[in-house]
């Protein structure tokens, strides 16, 4: 059994190999153009991987379980609702006139506000049991999705097509300026999480032990929820909702890392998400010629793992 650090290095090696393959397999046409395009896709993937992997691990630490993830709890459905509601209430006329970065900023700010209100309330107080939280999350997710759908039905066709273009953003069609903005947010949030990695180890011991060791538990929960909301916003804006990627990355990270220290688990989950995204996309696009289906495959595999673990253990 190699030490956790060795395992992390091995995974880093694997990730670099996968990324290199992704950049070079089946190159055709004008090299500079193809490489630039793939680099942009790659950058979007890495950002999504950091956002999804890290936010899931941290969320699981806050809720002290290995089943719940921000997506399962309706975080990304909430972001879609925010995007929809903004177009619904402001109309595309005024809204699309705004610079995309400002729009993204406003949406993210709204998302952070709502997410903190809702999930702080859900997670605070005495320890809630897993099934109640899971149920509350599912109900919230359904509620957000239904509200979004309702508003989408009431939109004018042109407004709806604008919205749809944003909601079904795909990995293969990244928007340049959005990648930059999302990148800045994800990297800032990621750096802040990384700085809190030791505090998070203490948080994983539970509220009372954390307080006894001098960690301001409730303050840390709020801070982490803000960072999680920012990361989910960025990744949802980049490639749309992905429910089970974070779950797969975090679950495998805990299985394979050989430790529960965040200093190892956080990068581990992130790298696994990169491998899943880049490797999966490569195999599907260049192996089977099915560029747009990655999210379907990840959702299917992740969803199966989720159900299997839930049925088998109920808790991890």
């Amino acid at each position: 059994m190699p030490a956790p650090k060795t395992r992390l290095l091995l995974l880093l090696g694997l990730t670099l190999v996968v990324c290199a393959l992704f950049m070079t397999v089946g190159l055709r046409g004008r090299l500079s153009y193809v490489l630039a395009y793939r680099a942009q896709v790659m950058a979007a993937m890495v950002l999504v991987a950091v956002a999804v992997g890290a936010s899931t691990v941290v969320f699981q630490t806050l809720t002290r379980n290995r089943i719940l993830t921000p997506s399962v709890m309706g975080f990304d459905a909430l972001f879609v609702l925010v995007q929809t509601a903004v177009i619904f209430f402001l109309g595309t006329g005024g809204w699309t006139g705004w610079p995309p970065l400002l729009r993204f900023g406003v949406e993210t700010a709204l998302m952070v506000g709502f997410a903190c209100l809702l999930y702080r309330w859900m997670l605070s107080g005495p320890r809630r049991d897993l099934y109640r939280l899971l149920l509350a999350g599912l109900v919230c997710g359904i509620l957000f999705r239904s509200l979004s759908e309702l508003m989408q039905r009431m939109l004018a066709p042109t407004e709806f097509s604008v919205l749809q273009g944003r909601l079904f953003a795909q990995l293969t069609l990244p928007a340049g300026d959005l990648t930059l903005a999302a990148g800045a947010l994800v990297l800032t949030a990621g750096a802040l999480l990384w700085r809190s990695r030791r505090e998070l180890d203490v948080m994983a011991l539970g509220r009372e032990t954390a307080v006894a060791l001098g960690v301001g538990h409730d303050r840390v929960v709020t801070r982490m929820l803000i960072l999680i909301a920012v990361m989910v916003s960025a990744s949802t804006a980049l490639i749309g909702p992905l429910t089970f990627l974070g779950f797969v990355a975090a679950t495998l990270a805990y299985q394979l890392a050989g430790t529960t220290r965040h200093a190892v688990v956080l990068p581990f989950a992130t790298l696994l998400a990169v491998v899943a995204l880049a490797g999966g996309q490569m195999v599907l696009e260049y192996g089977f010629g099915m560029a747009g289906t990655l999210s379907v495959v990840i959702e299917f595999a992740g969803g199966s793992l989720f159900l299997w673990l839930l049925v088998r253990k109920g808790r991890m």
């Binding site: 030791r198 994983a204 009372e208 032990t209 006894a212 001098g214 960690v215 430790t259």
Partner: protein, 252 residues
């Protein structure tokens, strides 16, 4: 010095702790005894700022524990809770090392490592140091949790049922350790304890709680009286002096 001033705690409509006041001067072992549901654990949690009081306050050297900077407080006062279940997969050494967090912020220095080794040795855990907590018996986990609290190296130590799950030998070792922490290191230790005979044998002072109130407060000689114990626990208790020690007999 810890001053508990008119502390009350309410859960829903139930008053779990009602208007409790006492003062703990530095040094010594104080036992908190009483029937189940008397409010002992709740009171201890309020003293350790794990729960907010609904009335009154707890002062550590004149400063309200609920308002003091939590990180600084963690270097003066430590608390062990009854429930010690962790989702993280940790070795005994990992867990004990968390006791140094208030000093090291998670980055262990050589001194921290020495303290951890010391605490492990104190609690007879050196051989088990690299075992995972989920591979241990309840008593071994309990000792690991106490070792973590000791590692915190604080003047005031609050322990909620430290004898939980311990066999006779380890229970005695634990009480001797607590006694030594008070006598040799000048620590103030408050223990919630169920065995009145351990309380009688090892403490300087016994606090008796019932129905959320502090009913009696005194040295073991004053508390270990049949009429008093019978009224508190509602079973017949005889008290004998054996080898200069008051022993309660209540088993049959």
């Amino acid at each position: 010095m810890i001053e508990v001033r008119n502390v009350s705690k309410v859960y829903g409509a139930r008053r779990v702790v009602e208007d409790v006041s006492f003062t703990l001067p530095p040094g010594g072992v104080v036992s908190l005894i009483g029937p189940n549901g008397a409010g002992k654990s709740t009171l201890l949690s309020v003293m350790g700022r794990l729960l907010p009081a609904d009335g009154g306050q707890v002062l550590l050297d004149g400063r309200d524990v609920a308002a003091t900077d939590s990180a600084a407080l963690a270097r003066r006062l430590s608390i062990l809770r009854q429930e010690n279940h962790f989702v993280s997969r940790l070795t005994v050494r990992d867990l004990v090392a968390f006791g140094r967090y208030p000093y090291s912020g998670g980055r262990l220095t050589a001194e921290d490592r020495d303290r951890v080794a010391e605490a492990l040795a104190f609690l007879d855990l050196t051989a088990l140091a690299d075992r995972y907590l989920d591979q241990l018996s309840g008593g071994q986990r309990q000792r690991a949790a106490v070792a973590m609290v000791l590692c915190q190296n604080t003047d005031y130590i609050l322990l909620d049922e430290p004898l939980n799950n311990l066999d006779m030998r380890h229970a005695v070792a634990m009480m001797r350790l607590i006694r030594r922490a008070a006598d040799d290191l000048g620590r103030t230790v408050v223990v919630v304890i169920h065995d009145i005979n351990f309380a009688s044998a090892y403490s300087d002072r016994i606090l008796v709680m019932k129905d959320g109130r502090l009913q009696h407060d005194g040295p073991p000689a004053e508390i270990m009286r049949p009429d008093l114990l019978e009224a508190v626990f509602e079973i017949p208790v005889q008290v004998r002096q054996i080898e200069g020690q008051a022993v309660g007999i209540y088993y049959r």
